[in-house]
């Protein structure tokens, strides 16, 4: 029985050879066919010549987590043949360039080999070697279209959209596409037993990556000063912001920019610029990854202590140190929560997909200004750089930015004396003033010891008074961060707690477990400090598995420290190899844990994917 809209393919290529456009073409075709689809780009930290993979999971049921068993491998990289062939599921297929005989590294008895003489066909029609390399991707896409029953009209349309104005390129691509398509139709088992059929699941959906959505959030939030230093995987937030700003933020009359885009000399400068701009009254942000946060640590403490808003998008990658810059991880949680020396605690937001990136980016600015403090939005490479099918982003025109307590010139005129850090409101926030507004509101901002009036102090009680208020202020934030998403199942005997992009894998795992007769409750945390529902959920469970993508169980650590739940309620499942999480890893992790008798605090599940 053929399996319709439920399979996974993997494309193995060399980076810098144009495979990205073919990957996108396939993804978009399936998307436009109305079928839920997910793409994971596993690329190297290199510009040209190293192995790169792209995984496409087609799931009519809507499962978008990473698949681990591939029905079809497109093996275009000789360096990785041996490894790639092993990843095909038993009974699966492998497409290769049959210009040359089947390489011996590709041997496996339980896999079917689909040969397409790509190079041979291209050599005949395309004289220029570099163009041949690029067109090969389109050619095998044509074969895949035939094999997977893709809608060729959509494929053609997409090619037209890409190359519409460049007739020569358009023709070349079209030709390669059709050659690949025809060859497969004529010579291969088309369609394969797993294949696509049109659906209508994507009417209200878009295909977008998290970094683009984050940038759009910053635009809609009214951010005007963007400061950054290039770093993978955070760079594309800034590329997108710049592109959107050039579109939406140029004054139609004067042609002048309603934004300032500052490529800083490093991350220390980037966060400094954000702090300076926020202090002056602009909505300002930076985007970075782990190494950048390490470098920003000192100034983050300044913003915390002097109470200056700052929005930081941390697109997490695999650490420590340079680590694996093009691999994902959730390993900056603890660092961001407590960044900088001395006693500090910061607001964290955890989006799980591009749609939430958009919403939470906006929320970041609101919270940063409301609480006059740094806010970290912790995205990651998987969310940020992969293409996700999510609900269309929506905007409520009634939205008014929450600029927090900022005294206007008139308000200043009406009060007797202004002090920076008092009086405080119920959330322990005091009103700030902006420079350039009114002499009555001027004060001296400092990272050194200060009292509730804003004056310099070295007196313990005065210093402590401010520090204690900061702690209470932090706790007040709990009711303003996005609530945890909680789903309960009848008869559940334990819960899964997770965060960010683990969402899809955990939900799928829960369905799998449910099908196995193991109902599981679910909570996805979306903000820190934790709202009361977080503690309540955990308390309600006999115990929970905390699923996360780092070695040291950092979310569990934060839950342990910042809620009152007993430690033995929280058991840890981690997968930190750098690839997006799969449901299989979660399910296996849970089975593995359930088999263990004793669960030691420091016993971390180490699983290689």
């Amino acid at each position: 029985m053929p399996s319709i809209n439920d399979f996974a393919i993997k494309l193995a290529n060399v980076n810098g050879t144009g495979s990205a456009s073919a990957n996108g073409l396939l993804m978009q075709t399936i998307f436009r066919m109305g079928i839920p689809v997910a793409g994971k780009n596993l690329f190297p930290s290199n510009i040209q010549g190293l192995p790169t993979w792209y995984e496409i999971r087609v799931s009519g049921a809507g499962y978008g987590a990473r698949a681990l068993d591939y029905d079809l491998m497109v093996a275009m990289n000789a360096q990785t043949y041996a490894k790639d062939v092993q990843e095909v599921r038993s009974g699966g297929y492998l497409l290769y360039d049959s210009t040359w005989p089947l390489p011996k590294e590709l041997h496996r008895d339980d896999v079917k080999f689909l040969g397409v003489p790509l190079s041979e066909m291209l050599t005949k029609t395309v004289p220029e070697p570099r163009t041949r390399i690029l067109l090969k991707n389109i050619m095998y896409s044509g074969s895949l279209a035939a094999l997977l029953n893709l809608d060729m009209e959509i494929v053609e349309e997409l090619i037209r959209e890409s190359y519409g104005k460049k007739q020569a390129l358009l023709d070349a691509n079209r030709q390669a596409l059709h050659q690949g398509y025809e060859y497969a139709k004529a010579n291969l088992e088309c369609p394969l037993p797993f294949r696509c059929e049109k659906m209508d699941a994507n009417r209200d959906k878009i295909l977008i990556d998290g970094n683009t959505a984050t940038a759009l959030g910053a635009i809609y939030a009214g951010a005007t000063v963007a400061a950054w230093y290039p770093i993978t995987p955070a760079t594309s937030v800034m590329d997108a912001f710049k592109a959107f700003a050039d579109r939406y933020r140029v004054d139609p009359e004067t042609k002048k920019n309603n934004y300032a885009f500052l490529q800083a000399e490093d991350e220390l400068a980037a966060i400094g610029m954000v702090i300076g701009a926020s202090w002056a009254g602009a909505r300002s942000f930076t985007s970075t990854a782990g190494p950048g946060i390490s470098l920003m640590s000192e100034l983050i403490g300044l913003a915390y202590y002097a109470e200056i808003p700052a929005v930081i998008f941390d697109i997490q990658r695999t650490g420590p140190s340079t680590g694996m810059p093009t691999r994902t991880q959730q390993s900056d949680i603890m660092m961001c929560a407590y960044a900088s020396h001395g006693d500090t605690k910061h607001i964290l937001l955890f989006p799980s997909n591009p749609n939430e990136c958009f919403d939470f980016a906006v929320k970041s600015f609101d919270l940063a200004e409301q609480f006059q403090t740094p806010v970290f939005m912790l995205s990651d490479l998987d969310i940020g750089m992969n293409d996700w099918v999510v609900d269309r982003l929506r905007w409520d025109d009634n939205y008014k930015p929450n600029r927090g307590k900022v005294l206007t010139s008139e308000e200043l005129d009406s009060i007797k004396t202004y002090y920076r850090y008092s009086p405080e409101d119920a959330d322990h926030v005091a009103a700030r003033t902006l420079p350039g507004i009114n002499e009555k509101g001027t004060y001296f901002t400092r990272g050194s010891g200060h009292n509730r009036l804003g004056g310099y102090t070295e007196t313990p009680s005065e210093y402590q008074e401010v520090m204690h208020r900061l702690l209470k202020k932090h706790w007040s934030v709990a009711k303003y961060v996005p609530e945890a998403v909680i789903e309960r199942k009848y008869g559940a005997t334990f819960g899964i707690v997770t965060v960010g992009g683990c969402d899809l894998a955990c939900r799928e795992a829960i369905d799998i477990l449910d099908a196995d007769g193991i109902p599981v409750n679910y909570m996805r945390i979306r903000g820190f400090p934790f709202g009361p529902e977080v503690e309540r959920f955990i308390m309600d469970q006999p115990f929970c598995y905390v699923v996360e993508q780092n070695r040291d169980a950092q979310l569990r650590a934060l839950l342990t420290l910042e809620t009152r739940v007993p430690k033995d309620k929280l058991q840890s499942i981690t997968a930190y190899g750098g690839y997006p999480l799969s449901a299989k890893s979660v399910v296996e992790g849970i089975h593995h844990k359930r088999d263990q008798k004793h669960i030691a605090t420091q016993d971390l599940a180490v699983m290689a994917e």
Binding site: T224, K256, G276, L299, L302, D396, T433, G436, F444, T445
Partner: protein, 351 residues
Amino acid sequence: MPSIAKPIVTHPSLEKNSLGLNLRAYEGAMSTLCAGCGHDSVTAAVVRAAWKLSIEPHKMAKFSGIGCSSKTPTYFVSGAHGFNSAHGRMPAIATGGGAANRSLISIGISGDGDSLSIGIGQLAHAIRRNLNIVYIIENNGVYGLTKGQFSASADIGSKSKKGEANRISPIDPVMLALSLGATFVARSFSGEKEQLVPIIEAAFKHNGLALIDVISPCVTFNDHEGSTKSYLYTRKHDYHVTDSDVVFPVDELVANISRNGHTAVTMHDGSVLHFTQTPEGYDPRDRAKVFAYLQQHQQEGKVPTGILFIDESQPDMHGVLGTTEEPLTQVPYETLCPGSGELEKLMEEFR
């Protein structure tokens, strides 16, 4: 009374400026620096320059890093917002502040430690961006606040209080700035108010980063014999290369030459910077020649002072960025947010 309380910087003059404010209105809190510290004189010069220019106090934004020098913004223009940030990070903070609100009149006060050691990267890049700011380095050749270690501006052979001679080649902020394409480079001496005040005035007028290296002796740790940053040494070796004055309005200006035959430069707001003294053949707009001149005179042991270089033709940071004239902090949210309609349209591109 045992305490060495320093009086608030006072001036006999109760003269009013065009805003109707007297000097007092430009003063700040009482200094907590050592009695006799050069920095206090720089403070006094800033007070006077701001007063003379009739800057509205609250339009000013004062930035600094960490150090004795960086404490000084508390001591002038208390009617302005101040930001005493972190060690070496003032340039970035000021860049953000200036980016957000270009109508602020920014002044940054730093030290040789703050700007030439930990902060040299940020200084260099603020220069590149030509951030619109008066950037004063109160240069004493040591880290005052941490008790007198040599800073990167200590000259070879200059002796510490304990008598040890520095042997590492110094960073001269003036040479550095020139090589980085700075558009306004000056040097002065905290003891030379007559020269320093007009330099600060011109710096405020400059459209871009105006770097002023002020030799400002540390009486506690670097004012002894053998130090090349002492009052005595500086006074002895101070060599006025240029003297200058800012004049407005523009009338007598012909082809960048002022009455007296010296160079004149028209500033951004139409006022004119008249050089009242320059050496024969010295053109403060010729970077290479200025560099060579300084190199030579410094080799001879002189400390050349004055506005040494100026290029008023370069765009400042906002010019480069093409930012709107209105401060970004004042662009209404409605203008900034594209709205739901645009988003709906945009979503079609993600299908």
